[in-house]
């Protein structure tokens, strides 16, 4: 009945064909089954780990960085929340349009926004990328208000450093900033992660390991869009250790504010213990700028600009010490017996040596001067003679004993060692035979702190401290205590670390100390302006220095050729507590430019002592401007 063709009629061997089909079925299904077996049984653990890796995202919780306090537990650096604008690329339909919209909403220059490419390689899907760092709350509000126009734009919160006193103590505190590529590959930062913030300068850098803390580790379950579904484990972060410094905020502030537009450095140190009370360098910077984006223009100005704002002149600035050096010359002369205290020298305004006239800074001459007058009036001729009698190598030995030409070992690091020349040094320093010889004329320059001799302000501070504390050359220190976040004291330094003791008759030190008192007390003394008007009962001792920058024929023509001004002083004269060394680059005369700065730092120190201990008493009305304008020449 069927019109249909049967396969017998068509001559087709149906069974053979169906058997072939079964064979194909068996082969292919077996292949698939073997493949599934391979994935699930052979490689099951491997893929299980991959699926866990998909599901579980490790989120690092940044630890609270240690707070930095001054010696009286006043906060110098703390932490605050900072807001970043970030972009989740997967949620953004059109990146260019979204960035343009964001620029418009935040009133930014068109084209100024871009994706910071630092996470390019390791980014996980739906991980946000940084667009703008540390924006204001106002900007956050603007973005939040228009978030429906900005798909994929989110606001992230990260901790940022807050240096609450701005530029005060900037060179001591330093700053923190995102870890650099080269740091990441170095041994020191081997446990750090990309994007973490580390100390880059100052104590933030030196005490990075103490301050950083331990990051928390949170394992969160996420879906394919990176949305958190739950938390699977959590290792809490541990806050960094707090630092208590030897600095006194008020003394530091006085030191920092002593420089207005001038450049230079001030170091205030405790005479007996070596505690740094203030360490100031100018020109300075505000470390808070590093919590937001620093443009390369700003960075170049900070690091390489004319003012070299990132240079800590107190440690890294090596300047000719000028007449301050005469203090060490006087001690050497008395100790070696080349002059007696009573011996007088006649100063006609110049010193003739080897057919050449070496000038005294006072052209008319000082007349007959003994040691006391020579120091007080800073007579060059007297010290030319002393230098000639001592010879450069004995000068070198004595200056070195007081720590000149040697790093002080302050834990801030990166110190310039300065230089105290000697004949051996010159022979080492120069290659050519004729350059290696030391000429006696050079000794005369060294004798007044010129020529090859250079010192840093911190070296001068501790050298003068050694003169007035009985010859103890101290290692200055700035971190008093390291305390963990739960209050455990990890490290504490309480007593002075004496580096060397100068072997010299204490009487000689006493004589020289008294000459320094005359420098300030004597109305003809060069350091008369360092007297403390607020504390007239507290006597100050010190020494001015005016070191020549270039030869005198350029003198006064341009600021760059003006002399560097020094003053190093201590107080109270009868029982010294504080030593302050000030250097003003191209400041002119030490007595005029540097001594008043030392005075204001000392007054801040004694005012603080008064506030804390009720003594010494300042004068009731520190208004009467003293009439004196003592001699400024040096």
């Amino acid at each position: 009945m069927s019109r249909q063709t049967s396969f017998e009629r068509a001559g087709i061997n149906i069974n053979l064909r169906v058997q072939l089909a079964f064979l194909a079925l068996a082969i292919f299904f077996t292949m698939v089954l073997v493949r599934v077996w391979y994935l699930q049984i052979v490689k099951g653990d491997y893929f299980r780990a991959l699926s866990e890796n998909n599901r579980i995202r490790v989120v690092y919780v940044p630890p609270e960085r240690g707070v930095i306090y001054d010696r009286n537990a006043e906060i110098l650096a703390k932490n605050r929340p900072s807001f970043n604008i970030e972009l989740v690329i997967e949620d953004v339909p059109d990146i260019t349009a979204t960035l343009a919209k964001l620029e418009q909403i935040l009133s930014l220059e068109s084209g100024s926004l871009g994706i910071k490419n630092r996470y390019q390689n390791k980014r996980k899907p739906f991980e946000a990328r940084l667009i703008l760092r540390d924006v204001s709350r106002d900007m956050v509000a603007k973005v939040a208000a228009r978030k429906f126009e900005l798909p994929g734009v989110i606001v992230g919160v990260v901790p940022a450093r807050d240096y609450i006193h701005g530029p005060i103590a900037a060179h001591v505190l330093g700053y923190i900033r995102e870890i650099t590529r080269s740091q990441l590959s170095s041994e020191r930062y081997s446990r750090y992660l990309q994007g973490e913030v580390v100390g880059q300068y100052g104590l933030e850098d030196r005490y990075e390991e103490m301050l950083q803390g331990i990051r928390g580790l949170q394992r969160v379950e996420v879906n394919a869009r990176g949305t958190r579904i739950g938390e699977s484990s959590f290792e809490p972060e541990r806050a960094g250790n707090n630092l208590f410094l030897t600095l006194d905020l008020d003394v530091q502030r006085a030191a920092d504010q002593a420089f207005e537009n001038s450049k230079g450095a001030i170091v205030a140190m405790h005479v007996e213990t070596g505690e740094i009370l203030a360490l100031s360098s100018s020109a300075t910077f505000d470390p808070n700028i590093f919590s937001s984006e620093v443009s390369s223009k700003v960075w170049n100005d900070l690091a390489y600009g004319k003012d070299k704002k990132l240079t800590n002149r107190a440690l890294q600035g090596a300047y000719p010490p000028g007449s301050v050096f005469k203090i060490f010359m006087a001690i050497a002369a008395l100790a070696e017996g080349v002059v007696s205290v009573k011996e007088t020298v006649f100063c006609p305004g110049f010193y003739r040596f080897a057919g050449r006239d070496y000038r005294c800074h006072k052209k008319s001459g000082h007349g007959s001067v003994d040691l006391n007058a020579a120091v007080a009036q800073s007579c060059d001729v007297y010290f030319y003679l002393v230098g000639q009698r001592l010879g450069v190598d004995r000068i070198h030995t004595w200056a070195t004993q007081f720590g000149l030409g040697l790093p002080t070992g302050l834990t801030l690091g990166n110190e310039n060692a300065g230089l105290v020349p000697s004949s051996a040094w010159k022979a080492r320093r120069f290659k050519r035979k004729e350059d290696q010889k030391w000429y006696p004329g050079e000794t005369l320059s060294v004798a007044i702190g010129q020529g090859a001799v250079t010192s840093t302000p911190i070296q001068i501070a501790r050298g003068i401290a050694a003169v007035v504390n009985g010859g103890r050359v101290l290692q200055p220190w700035i971190v008093k205590k390291v305390v963990s976040s739960d209050g455990t004291v990890i490290d504490e330094m309480s007593k002075a670390k004496v580096e060397t003791k100068v072997s010299v008759d204490p009487k000689i030190l006493e004589i020289v100390k008294n000459t320094m008192v005359s420098v300030v007390a004597d109305p003809r003394g060069t350091g008369h302006r360092a007297r403390l008007e607020l504390f007239p009962d507290i006597k100050v001792g010190g020494k001015t220095g005016t070191s020549q920058v270039v030869s005198a024929k350029y003198y006064g023509q341009r600021e760059e050729f003006e002399d560097h001004a020094w003053f190093a002083g201590f107080a109270p004269a009868d029982k010294p507590e504080i030593v302050v060394a000030a250097l003003v680059e191209h400041g002119g005369h030490g007595g005029a430019a540097a001594a008043p700065k030392v005075k204001s730092v000392m007054q801040a120190y004694f005012m603080k002592q008064y506030q804390q201990f009720g003594k010494p008493m300042p004068v009731s009305s520190p208004v009467a401007k003293p009439k004196d304008e003592g001699p400024v020449s040096d």
């Binding site: 087709i12 149906i14 079964f22 299904f29 089954l33 699930q40 699926s51 869009r225």
Partner: protein, 375 residues
Amino acid sequence: MLVDRRIFAHFDFALLIAALLVPIFGILVLFSAGYSPDSTATIMGLPIRSYPAFKQLVFLGVGIIAMFIGLSLSSLALERWAYGFYAVCVSMLVAVLLFGNVSKGARRWLNFGAFNIQPSEITKIAIILALARYLSRMSLPKKGLDFKHLIIPALMLLIPAFLDAKQPDLGTAIVSAAVGGMMLLFIGIRLRVIVTICLFGAIVAVPAWNHLHDYQRMRILTLFNPEADPMGAGYHLNQSKIAVGSGGFLGKGFLKGTQTQLEFLPEHTTDFVFSVLAEEQGFIGSFLLIALYAALVTLLLRVVTRTRSLFNSLVAFGMASMIFFHTVVNLGMVTGILPVVGITLPMFSYGGSSLISMLFGIGIVLGISMRRFAI
């Protein structure tokens, strides 16, 4: 024609059960794949936690009706209407290109008010019927089909395949061509024709490669090196392999597959539904499903030998080929041995047009099997 008692006596219950077990199994897996615990949707007071599973259940109901329609059609009627049916389907494919709805970059759906249908699914059945009619009516040469015999069958295959590829729906185009090719092989093709086609294929491979969409090319390339671009073209494949592999022997448990539930696995209700099963039910579940497909194809092939009509044999063989090809290509794709081409797992992946068409096709084979003694 009166209903013969023998018809029921010879009803292929095994094939019916296998054909229904696959979508039922599929709905269970779809429940997990489409699971959204926060869903508040209700239908007739019943909370709906998995919308795809619910819809697939409705499709299964419609599919069972379609299966009984297919079952009730005599092969005479099928043969008579085969060309008309084919013509209607091809017209619908043209209509898709002209008026179809676009979704995910492809124009595949025709809108009929309350529902959308995907004509390319039912077209696969139409091609089998039309080709079976043509091949069973021609006078077959002794040595197998020669070039001249292949012109019309080739056109019958390539017109819908071309229209599918235009949507673009490369997967369906490949299935249509492959199923047709297997039916031709069933009849027998002269060796020289096969050799020529292979040579021709090798020659046109390069221009064809150049004609592919970039994403299609990347999918083939990533097969060989899936880690090359894990966030881009390799993403689907990698996530699927992770899902399958991480299931292990026993699986992570129902609704506990992290790749699925956290949506790392893309297209997990459609092309990659097997990965959901493999992740949550492990090797046990995977083995069961593969065995079920093997049984289904075997039962379809059994019908091929049980009828003496060449048309019936070709229809049953075409259906068996289609299920087989779909299954192997899909499983090969999700386990990373074949490129990602977008071929669904038959009657298991979410999709109404596909499920209903397949059940209709199996219904036809059930009918053929049932009437094998009814002369």
